[in-house]
């Protein structure tokens, strides 16, 4: 039984792995979640400033959200949230056995990527003040 003599544990060479699209969307689910977690203090702080009753908090909110670096981070977080949201719905559907077949799973992963990027564009333009 040669399979029993295989080297364990097995460490994978990340740069040699070619993920299928569903795997790529899945790892982005993790990356987007981690990014949102890391930026939670910024988001809670912005919530605090947006709900602060003083003139000072109103001015600080405007200054912080007007900063281009903050805008860039918020744009990234917007994509992260939307990807995580769409991917979450895909996971829930697969949990109830919708779209489990290989081709369907590939298509839904594609849908998640496309829809989350499209929505990022729509809301991102609003965030950047384009409309």
């Amino acid at each position: 039984m040669p399979e029993l003599t295989k080297q364990r544990p097995k460490y994978l060479a990340l740069h040699e792995i070619r993920l299928p699209l569903a795997g790529f969307a899945s790892i982005l689910h993790r990356v987007s979640g981690a990014g949102l977690f890391l930026m939670l203090p910024l988001l809670i702080w912005l919530l605090q400033l947006s709900l602060g009753s003083t003139q000072q908090s109103a001015e600080l909110f405007a200054a912080v959200t007007g900063n281009w670096l903050v805008k860039l981070i918020l744009l990234g977080l917007l994509w992260a949230f939307l990807h995580h949201f769409c991917m979450g719905i895909r996971i829930l559907l697969i949990d109830v056995h919708v779209g489990v077949e290989k081709q369907q799973a590939h298509n839904s992963a594609m849908a998640v990527m496309v829809i989350s990027l499209a929505l990022t564009l729509v809301f991102g333009l609003k965030l950047l003040g384009a409309y």
Partner: protein
Amino acid sequence: MNRLVVGAHYGLKDWLAQRVTGVVMAVYTLIIFAAALGGATASREAWQAFMANGFIRYISFLFIVSLCYHAWVGIRDIWMDYLNSAALRVILHVLTLLALVGYAGWAVQIIWRL
């Protein structure tokens, strides 16, 4: 028996909690989005009045608790997947937990004092 230190309950409870908290956050997101379309974010005053509403405060609280629990399970899974040292894992688990409990308290007092 030589046992690997992997954590405790092997996941069913966390798996379910991840789904429930995810659904709570998704529904909350749609409510906030609908409110924004309805003008709740049109001005600072409108936003503050909206967030001070009793029902909105109630579901905002549920959102915050769901978010922190969801993030706990997700971030803990990342540590479990990539860290081979049990000592390092425990340290990061504790730091993650402390951060999230603190964030929850901070966010809740923001909406609760309105």
